[in-house]
Symmetry: C2
Subunit: 384 residues, 2 copies
């Protein structure tokens, strides 16, 4: 583990102390390693069983340590959303990074070439011809080659070419242009991942795969068959892997399972039920009114959209959380006469894990009741 | 300015280059220094004119550089919400820090004593007797004295004693206990700061001041007159300063003026109209559909509660922003046939500035069209 100044890591002295989980100076991002490892291997085994490549998205965890563990468990590489995240991963020696957002500005392309020079098999996406030409010209000038996937829009309109003809056209441009190398397609149907009902989500995934199939068929027909067809997420990987379209899965949230994803129904057989491994541990700092307590975690610890933070331990499970500013939240006890104890710790399940992780500098990793490691959130804040 | 690794600061080479504001690698937190300085001095002059002490809240900016400028402009010191923020400020030599949240855990109290030993006039708050005893015992054991304010609850129930009798009791306990030193009271009426209508907000502030007056009268009568009566915010300071209750103002957001505070009506005479100095600068990264473009800023760049990000430049001002995931947002142009240009930069006004600043590592400071400095958000993420 790297060295940190002590004020930055006030809990280091607790590492290895039995019972330290409940002594942590809070608020901290807590990772239950046993659950985390179970989730990690469940998906790795599933992908291996289906002969699907796994390229987990690091936007969820932003951690070099976790990326390395995913690769050790069988992933072919990782995804990053931003160039800044990719710089962190490549800089730490993580190989086979796919950057899933188009990089369009000249300054970004120069930074991209700097990490491409030291990276093993870096992949980028493009969704328009000018960007391909810009990438190619810069790569040629630097004496490099950039490996490019055509981004396909599966209905979010966030990025990607809008139809099969444009996909073929862009693939042809990439293949005809020096400095860039065509690798296949990237497509992410984010709008499907959180459909609660299993059958409804399955039907939507099948329809989207069929749409992508049309694109791939057009590419095949034009002799631009994609080597890589990458996408999918924690909500749809099971369906995406059952068809003959994607050959690579990008799931990220399966490691942590926030309340957003916990609400999404697993398969009726629950073959692949992931459990919650990620929490925010907090402390009651004020309790001068019955039925009410204040904890030290507000907007700067919990992403404030989606389900509110839920109680996992330290208060009755029907206690409600209410945001009470940037650094504080209220616990509203069902028993209006309840007298909370200042200093007690309360463990919370978060909503959307990605932007929650991004609020913290470190993971506090526990096994049972013991803090065993502290991992940096290496790419936290690397939005640029 | 401190040295940083270059991947962490991709825009440093632009410092001092005319026109560099529009070349910035995005998304970045942008600070317009001319507007910022005007806001800074407007409030400093106001407080000086009223003989009120100004102790601005650093939870808004989390920046040592900005804290120093506030003190240079006349502030008596600064406020911090968390111990982690205070460690950063005290560690950088910023004096007269008030920590506005109760620190109740033993481990936090030990960290507190570590910075109290090197701090100039550190102040803490307490709202219950056990905490006062814990602070005192730890301070005595360390051969130190902790300066304590009694926290008063002005209706949020977030912290503070619930009535004048409890205030008197706690003040007496502090005065009778070795290791702690009574300094006065801290009270913050956060619920009033965003009342839109000027007269309604004024009436609410007067009522709250009257409530606090009762507490102070009770303290006077018991011979525990507070030396410091500190509180207030950007929404109510004008009223709070016009009465004889508070003698110290804690405003923070006046420096930046987010859309939340821009919606709060200034005085009818507009004597103290602050302007927006803080923005998020973004780039259009995809635009394959008419009337629609994708920018590189989503939940990880914009705090997602309150008004949506508003356009300040780079797109028609009636263009609507819509969140489209962690790292992306849509621009919905009023003209449905509009064809956006990939690579164009778009400047956005943020909603609540505090949690927005907390998402970034740096301020990109501009004068006119030129990037002139990059300041770290030193206490970003220091929630513990």
């Amino acid at each position: 583990m790297p060295d940190f100044p002590s004020a930055d890591l006030p809990n280091t002295d607790l590492i290895g102390q039995p019972g330290s989980r409940k002594l942590l100076d809070t608020p901290v991002l807590l990772l239950d390693l046993d659950v985390f490892e179970s989730n990690l291997h469940k998906l790795a085994d599933f992908a291996a069983g289906r002969s699907h490549a796994l390229r987990p998205h690091t936007k969820t965890h932003k951690s070099v340590e976790i990326a390395r563990r995913q690769i050790a468990a069988g992933a072919v590489g990782v995804c990053c959303t931003t160039l800044g995240e990719a710089e962190v991963m490549v800089g730490a020696g993580v190989g086979n990074v796919l950057i899933t957002s188009p990089l369009v500005a000249q300054r970004k392309i120069q930074r991209l070439l700097a990490i491409n020079a030291q990276a093993d098999d870096l992949l980028v996406v493009a969704d328009q011809s000018q960007n391909v030409r810009d990438l190619a010209a810069a790569a040629q000038a630097a004496g490099q080659v950039l490996k490019v996937l055509v981004a396909i829009d599966l209905g979010i309109h966030r990025m990607g070419v809008a139809n099969p003809e444009s996909a073929v056209e862009l693939a042809r441009l990439i293949r005809e242009t020096e400095g860039v190398e065509y690798q296949g397609v990237h497509a992410y149907a984010g709008q499907l991942q959180h459909i609660i009902e299993y059958d409804e989500r399955r039907a939507a995934a099948l329809a989207t795969n069929a749409e992508l199939r049309v694109v791939c068929d057009a590419l095949d027909a034009a002799d631009h068959s994609p080597r890589i067809v990458t996408g999918s997420g924690t909500g749809t990987f099971e369906f995406d892997a059952s068809l003959d379209v994607f050959n690579e899965l990008q799931c990220g949230s399966y490691l942590f399972m926030d309340s957003d994803y916990n609400a999404v129904a697993a398969s009726p057989e629950e073959r692949l039920r992931f459990e919650t491994s990620l929490f925010v541990q907090t402390t009651i700092v004020s309790a001068n009114h019955p039925g009410l307590a204040t904890i030290d975690a507000g907007y700067k610890c919990f992403f404030p959209r989606g389900p509110k933070p839920a109680i996992a331990a330290g208060a009755p499970l029907d206690t409600e959380y209410e945001f009470r500013g940037d650094e504080h939240g209220h616990l509203l006890y069902a028993d209006a006469a309840y007298r909370a104890t200042v200093g007690d710790q309360v463990l919370c399940v978060t909503s959307h894990c990605d932007p929650t992780v991004n609020l913290f500098d470190h993971y506090h990793c526990v096994r049972g009741d013991t803090l065993v490691e502290i991992w940096p959130v290496d790419a936290r804040g690397r939005c640029v």
